[in-house]
């Protein structure tokens, strides 16, 4: 004769397996993840599924039944000169920004590390400030400085007897005008991240190396760089992502010009979402391609860093 409790227990075991206490708070668990789960499903996953489905159909025709076209939309977008060019521009921006920003912030982090007084604290506080400024506001400030008629840059050039620069007429200067504000916005933040990486390296590593007679180059190659692999990876992927999805600065500074030399993928997609001549499915196929590149890049680095830091623990 089984007691009531035994019956209940065996029923519970049938439902949840032998670990009868393991899931005793399962309901609370579901309740606590429910809001995030629902919001992410409605506003991220469903839009993504719709986008993927649409990228395989032709929505240009206003027919009742949309036609399945396979990879045609992807072929069309990859055959679009502007879109391909926007990717090439983004790669160029990304290469320059990653290299210059890494070099600048890594070097400046060393300066910060060697300064232990109040001035150092003050400088660390101030250099973060541009990170608070949006691309739109930064573009306004730099448009003011590069104004053709009487901005700061051209004022100096004219006073020196040189020709003024029109950033929206010259390919090289247009690109510079997009890259420089980007560097300005992120420099302080990236320096602080690098600084955090530097001060996390135990001092005795360097002391031991000094005793062994190692010079600064050897210390850099054998201690600093290996200890900061994660910081470098995350900074690089952050810079790559923000460069490849650049939008506000080229949108306001140059609007992609001249001759699409500062057109970026996001700016291209933004302009074409309203373009009635191009099927929105084609534009969406382009947006999916952006995800495949940027998202995959992020995912690979994210999991590489995670597995490495779990090994470290």
């Amino acid at each position: 004769m089984r007691t009531d409790g035994q019956v209940r227990r065996s029923f519970h075991e049938k439902l949840f397996g032998k670990n009868k206490f393991k899931y005793r708070y399962a309901f609370t668990g579901y309740a606590m993840i429910a809001p995030a789960f629902l919001l992410l499903t409605i506003f991220v996953v469903i839009p993504l599924v719709i986008a993927i489905v649409r990228s395989f159909f032709d929505y240009r025709s206003y027919a009742e039944v949309q036609q399945f076209v396979g990879f045609d939309n992807y072929k069309l977008i990859l055959g679009t000169t502007s879109f391909v060019r926007s990717f090439r521009n983004a790669l160029l921006f990304a290469a320059v920004i990653v290299l210059v920003q890494l070099l600048l912030s890594f070097s400046f982090a060393h300066v910060l590390k060697n300064c232990h007084n109040r001035y150092g604290i003050f400088v660390r506080m101030i250099i973060y400030i541009p990170y608070l400024i949006s691309g739109i506001a930064a573009a306004i400030i730099f448009l003011f400085m590069t104004n053709y008629g009487g901005g700061l840059i051209n004022g100096i050039l004219l006073a020196a007897g040189l020709d003024p620069i029109a950033i929206d007429m010259n390919v090289t200067w247009a690109r510079v005008a997009v890259i420089v504000p980007t560097l300005w916005l992120g420099f302080g933040y990236n320096s602080l991240v690098m600084y955090a990486g530097l001060i996390n390296i135990p001092k005795d590593y360097y002391e031991a190396a000094t005793l062994d007679g190692a010079g600064w180059l050897i210390k850099l190659a054998k201690i600093t760089l290996p200890s900061m692999v994660n910081y470098f990876l995350l900074t690089i992927v952050g810079l790559l992502t923000s460069s490849l999805t650049m939008f506000e600065l080229p949108f306001l500074m140059t609007n992609g010009g001249p001759t699409e030399s500062t057109l970026t993928p996001v700016l291209y997609l933004f302009n074409n979402y309203r373009n009635v001549l191009q099927s929105s499915s084609v534009t969406i196929a382009g947006a999916i391609l952006v995800m495949l590149i940027v998202g995959a890049l992020n995912a690979v680095v994210f999991f590489a860093v995670q597995s490495k830091s779990s090994q470290d623990d």
Partner: protein, 279 residues
């Protein structure tokens, strides 16, 4: 002896470099600042001069007296949207993070991967279809379209979960013996011990909402009271092409809210970068 001299030289060089960097960082803002007080005839006048010859408040008057847009209302609604979003975002993401860190439930691994993977989807990829979804839900041109879609974030859940995994378990055991429920533990204990990550994530959520541009442009079209501040600045930039002082005044005043917040939380944020260095 030699070492201390070279240290002093290093220190001096460091101070010089830091001062140069400081000037470069502050220069664009400082250069633009007095031009808000310049008349339209003076703003691009050569030779260059930093301070206006004739101080005027005309630009501010224009910004505040626009017939079809209300600047202060835009700053206010942008700040309100950002503040509400910070609270909702902290609540929703911290709750989920706590469940993933501490509670066993069937399917946990699946839900974890599901939510984490949303963080690799760029906003631009789902921009157009998200607009379809919010339009289907009747949210266009309401305050909710600005707030709700961005509240849950895979990255923020991940960030808080990492933090909670480092919290020792005995605190909960003690609380459970005292008869506190799981939800009680979360609300009474875990929200109090995570001030530092809450400030860091809260600030980053605030900034992403306050500075957002693309999403409001796509979703707020007719309701000018809800025009977000960056959207308004861009509108002013195309409207007052000949009067750059007006655009500058609007831009510079929009920086006051984030700067004030930063001054307030600065200590947490600069220290927090060593914790949040992962992003």
């Amino acid at each position: 002896m030699k070492a201390s001299t070279s240290k002093k030289i290093n220190g001096a060089a460091g101070t010089v470099i830091m001062t140069v960097v400081l000037i470069v960082i502050l220069f664009p803002v400082l250069w633009a600042l007095p031009s808000m007080f310049k008349d339209r005839s003076e703003i691009f006048e050569l030779p260059l001069h930093w301070l206006p010859h004739q101080w005027t408040l005309e630009n501010f008057r224009t910004v505040f007296d626009m017939p079809d847009y209300n600047y202060l209302l835009s700053v206010g609604s942008t700040t309100l949207v950002a503040v509400i979003s910070v609270f909702l975002s902290l609540l929703v993401n911290m709750m989920a993070a706590y469940a993933f860190a501490r509670i066993e439930f069937p399917g946990r691994a699946f839900f974890w991967v599901y939510m984490l993977s949303t963080m690799f989807i760029p906003g631009i990829t789902i921009l157009l279809t998200s607009v379809r979804v919010v339009s289907f839900l009747g949210m266009l041109d309401t305050i909710w379209v600005l707030i709700i879609p961005g509240v849950a974030s895979g990255y923020n859940i991940f960030f808080f979960r990492q933090y909670y995994l480092g919290v020792p378990g005995y605190m909960e055991e003690a609380a459970m013996i005292d008869g506190l429920s799981r939800a009680g533990i979360f609300f009474r204990i875990f929200t109090r011990i995570s001030t530092a990550p809450m400030v860091i994530i809260g600030m980053s959520v605030f900034m992403s909402y306050y500075n957002s541009f693309l999403w409001p442009v796509m979703t707020i079209t007719d309701n000018t009271a809800l025009y977000q501040i960056m959207q308004l600045i861009r509108t002013l930039n195309s409207r007052y092409t000949g009067r750059y002082g007006v655009v500058l005044a609007a831009t510079m005043m929009s920086l006051i809210v984030p700067f004030a917040l930063y001054c307030f939380f600065q200590k947490y944020i600069v220290q927090g970068i060593s914790i949040a260095g992962v992003k």
